[in-house]
Symmetry: C2
């Protein structure tokens, strides 16, 4: 996606060989028009899949997932990182390790929101080591739902998450793949 | 907002005299079309305010805030509940007590994303005791920005947050005001 690449080059900050900061338009401040275009692109890529539900994880996944769901005309569910007092239902539960935050999060999805009749498209902002995506895939499996694929805004292709998911036969579509962040330089694949 | 009231009556669950669960369309599963209508309604109500930025707090505020920002043609910033490793800038910081989760969250907003030239519209999913809104207002003040107003999807009018904000001269627009949740009944104001 050309405009996303331009935005990354213009406003992305390389913090280390592993960390690209895109707080300006993706995960702290959000550019709604760019997000709408991202949603349209994912909807186009997965339009043959008869998706019935978009699944993501709070918080940075919500914006691209919501725009994708709007385009596809289906609801979006975001996995929550902690049990809230209003989450009284039984739920699917999965543990996800975050390298960025160096913590394990238990994410939960209410059972009533995902069933074995659903065809699920997972959307997230980043794919690096693949932990978040795998946690969400586990939830889809627990529900007995069909996994239509995984849509990622920015894939760090130099980390192994994407390769592992694709080797497992999962369709992964990344709008932008970054080959390297070495020497403070953003190199696309 | 008629469609929102209908949705609340049809899918909202009264968990106690204080807690209304709207996980089906607002804060776990999201109805994107309803959210788009909510964004259009807030944009209409605040269109005279020359809003330059929408401000909300993760996670449930993101969807209505994003749709409002899309309509207004401005960016949205969501306050983050915890310092991430990629939040290296200096930031505005505010403490917010959550009654639902019974915990204090420190929320942060990067200083570069909010300046004294901004005209800020705060959007959130719920207004009850007003802690979240007041925390965000504190951030707006720290930035020296202008507060254009506060847009709330569902106000629990039987709690005192809305009254306190309005007494302080702040414009608060709630799409739905709930007068009572007593006896398991949802009563609109």
């Amino acid at each position: 996606m050309k405009r996303l690449k331009e935005k990354i080059l213009k406003e992305g900050l390389v913090l280390s060989e592993d960390i690209l900061k895109v707080d300006n338009f993706l995960n702290h401040q959000i550019d709604p028009v760019l997000m709408q275009e991202i949603g349209q692109e994912f909807a186009k890529q997965f339009q043959q899949e008869s998706v019935s539900k978009v699944l993501t994880i709070e918080s940075s996944g919500i914006a691209p997932a919501l725009m994708t769901a709007l385009e596809l005309g289906v609801p979006v569910v975001f996995a929550r990182k902690k049990k809230s007092l209003t989450l009284t239902d039984s739920f699917y539960e999965s543990k996800i390790f975050s390298f960025t935050k160096q913590e394990i999060n238990t994410v939960v999805v209410s059972k009533k929101l995902l069933t074995n009749e659903d065809r699920v498209l997972i959307i997230d902002d980043f794919l690096a080591n693949g932990q978040a995506a795998e946690g969400l895939i586990e939830v889809v499996k627990m529900a007995g739902a069909h996994l239509s694929g995984v849509g990622i805004v920015i894939e760090k292709a130099f980390q192994n998450g994407g390769a592992r998911l694709r080797q497992a036969g999962i369709r992964v579509e990344s709008l932008v793949e970054i080959a390297s962040l070495a020497n403070g330089q953003i190199t696309f694949k």
